[in-house]
Symmetry: C2
Subunit: 393 residues, 2 copies
């Protein structure tokens, strides 16, 4: 008689975005004349850049002709795209071997699938608030989870607590949802903690392209990280690939636990349970790494960052406490007037038509906070912030 | 201190295709003048059909414009492609609900990932010989595996043994590597066994498009299958998507174990650990389901099936025992002169330059068998079979 994985029954159903959608739908029905400005979901709105479209179009044509058709490719990605990622890291002074880079259909897949490599009796340390996938994927395996308090006092950048023994540590920097970014000294504390304790850091760098100053874009910029960290990155926010789907994961050869190279285990996992990313998508990604592609991407990111500045300028003007917005597309603000996040959601929607994401959806420590994203149009961002000012001035 | 998933250490390294490549390279070096005809690897060679290219090109253009850009899509696939799959099943008399269909990046991913839903203390029944992924993915989880003898006596179509208690049962029909196909009565025996024992059947239908007669293309053509089977399918062999990557998995609502709907668990798994297939790939797949696309695909499959017939006609003429080739791109032949499969590989390569796959690579019962595929060009297939005849006549 088949028995199911009962850990699944312990996952809390998340209704965050469906609850938001239901509230917005009810509001629109009651007030059909009111304009809604969506600053909630973390999806991009700018189209793929010219260089990406050009490469992808070329690849589609190749696939239509027998002489240039591509069948099965390497599970871990074509050489041409691994070389591009390798070059991109080298620009930040990080030297990787080509076979330390694994191309995948996105960071979300790899962040979940990487757990295949670890025993279920490890203890996991996850910041609260955070991207809910870290928590749910570990509940599915039945691992013990402890939370690192991320809050106003530490600027939503918790540091290691040497009294706690954690085997698997999640760090997301720039953070989703708080937009907070670790500096070198802070990341070094985490790397040293992990190396001392024999822990692994799962470093989610999905928003690294938004870093515009000296904050580290990769954990491998920190000395010692190659013996304790796997890094996950994605073109979703870097090049607008949320619907095109490509990411990459770095597993250094120096990463050894129980005398086994994790790189070999991950290669084994990927060759057994994955068949590589679509050739046309890998070619499209190549277009994001050419000099012209990089420049076109930078323009899109500058556009979003200008939106983020419009938001943070408004928060500064209104004296509203926040993190993020500088090296991140997210602004995480403290709800005015001690409102709880859902209360604030309702209030903001009713008064302004602006939709954000209640912080409670990301963990207990988000109860009095609210996430706004910079992925709207500039016009809508300006309009939303004008309404904010009228409401809270 | 992090501990790894030690089950990984129990997986046998597979050198099947790398050993073949090394032998071919050595032969080519020694005999640079000899032509090699590759009939080993199961990859397609015909390009994507016009209708697929047309839809994919259209989608790439959409992605380049803000008004038609697509960001995150539903993790389980867009409605338009689920509707197409639903319609395709309906043509074979199988009625599915739209949300019983999950779009993914390929059957290989889903066949591995589905195991997330099942406890590791289930017993697994896997035919020998078979596609090695079934075995390896279960070793990774530490499940007990028992093998169903698939051999000349049962035509490589083993039937249920009521003395054995298996919780998870793998069936691949048309089979990889043997090309053997279950008929309705045989599949009904498996469905009845599974329903009686509370087992689940994981039905791999990746080669269903090659069935040209009354053999079932879907396990849901068998009464009772919706309470005991998950079906995996793919456009890889159907529409030449091996490098384009799209598959689909069917999880019927009637499938309940421990009072839990597996459909809900799989939805949860996919929304947590997957972010959907590239929009352009889903649109490309749509092109395979239009009337013109279906007709173009049928032409490609007819081309491969003609190759298969050239192979089986030769085997018939030479009185070599085989399975497959009729409703399958694979011909699984008994090595002439009682040769073992690797011995035969070397002999065939040396004498004819034809490369096939030694049956030993698929399990113990493949020791005296050999797989040829119909995915070469017609010209090469004819030439290879001419050499076969000269050698064994």
């Amino acid at each position: 008689m088949l028995s199911i994985n009962k850990n699944y029954l312990n996952i809390k159903e998340s209704y965050l975005f469906s609850d938001i959608a239901a509230k917005v739908a009810a509001f629109t029905k009651a007030h059909p004349e009111k304009k809604i400005i969506k600053m909630g979901i973390g999806d991009v709105t700018r189209p793929l850049c010219e260089s990406v479209i050009k490469e992808m179009t070329y690849a589609v044509n190749e696939m239509g002709k027998a002489e240039t058709f591509h069948g099965y490719g390497p599970e871990q990605g074509y050489g041409f795209i691994k070389d591009s990622v390798q070059g991109y890291y080298a620009e930040n002074g990080v030297n990787l071997e080509n076979n330390e880079i694994f191309i995948s259909d996105g960071a979300k897949s790899d962040l979940g699938n990487i757990l295949d490599l670890f025993s279920n009796d490890n203890t996991v340390l996850i910041p609260d608030p955070v991207y809910p996938v870290y928590v749910d994927t570990n509940i599915m395996d039945g691992r013990k989870i402890i939370f690192a308090d991320s809050n106003e006092a530490n600027g939503f950048l918790p540091l290691p607590d040497t009294n706690i023994q954690a085997d698997i540590i999640y760090i997301c920097s720039p953070n989703n949802p708080t937009g907070a970014v670790y500096d070198r000294e802070q990341l070094k504390l985490w790397v040293d903690y992990a190396n001392k304790n024999g822990s692994i850091i799962l470093f989610d760098a999905a928003y690294e392209a938004f870093i515009g100053d000296d904050h580290p874009r990769s954990i491998y910029e920190i000395e010692g990280a190659k013996t304790c960290a796997i890094e996950f990155c994605s073109l979703s926010k870097t090049a607008g690939f949320t619907g095109t789907r490509m990411g990459y994961t770095v597993v250094p050869h120096l990463l050894k636990f129980d005398n086994v190279e994790l790189n070999k285990l991950w290669l084994r996992r990927q060759t057994t349970k994955f068949n590589g990313v679509s050739y046309v998508v890998q070619k499209a990604a190549l277009g994001a790494f050419t000099p012209e592609g990089k420049s076109q991407i930078r323009e899109n990111i500058a556009y979003y960052k200008e939106n983020a500045k419009i938001i943070t300028d408004t928060m500064d003007e209104l004296n509203i406490w926040y993190t993020g917005g500088k090296n991140s597309p997210y602004v995480w603000l403290k709800c005015p007037n001690n409102m709880e996040s859902w209360e604030f959601f309702d209030y903001l929607l009713a008064k302004t038509g602006v939709v954000g994401t209640p912080g409670a959806g990301f963990g207990n420590n988000g109860k009095y906070f609210f996430r706004l994203t910079a992925f709207s149009t500039k016009e809508n961002t300006i309009e939303a912030m004008k309404k904010f000012k009228e409401l809270f001035a």
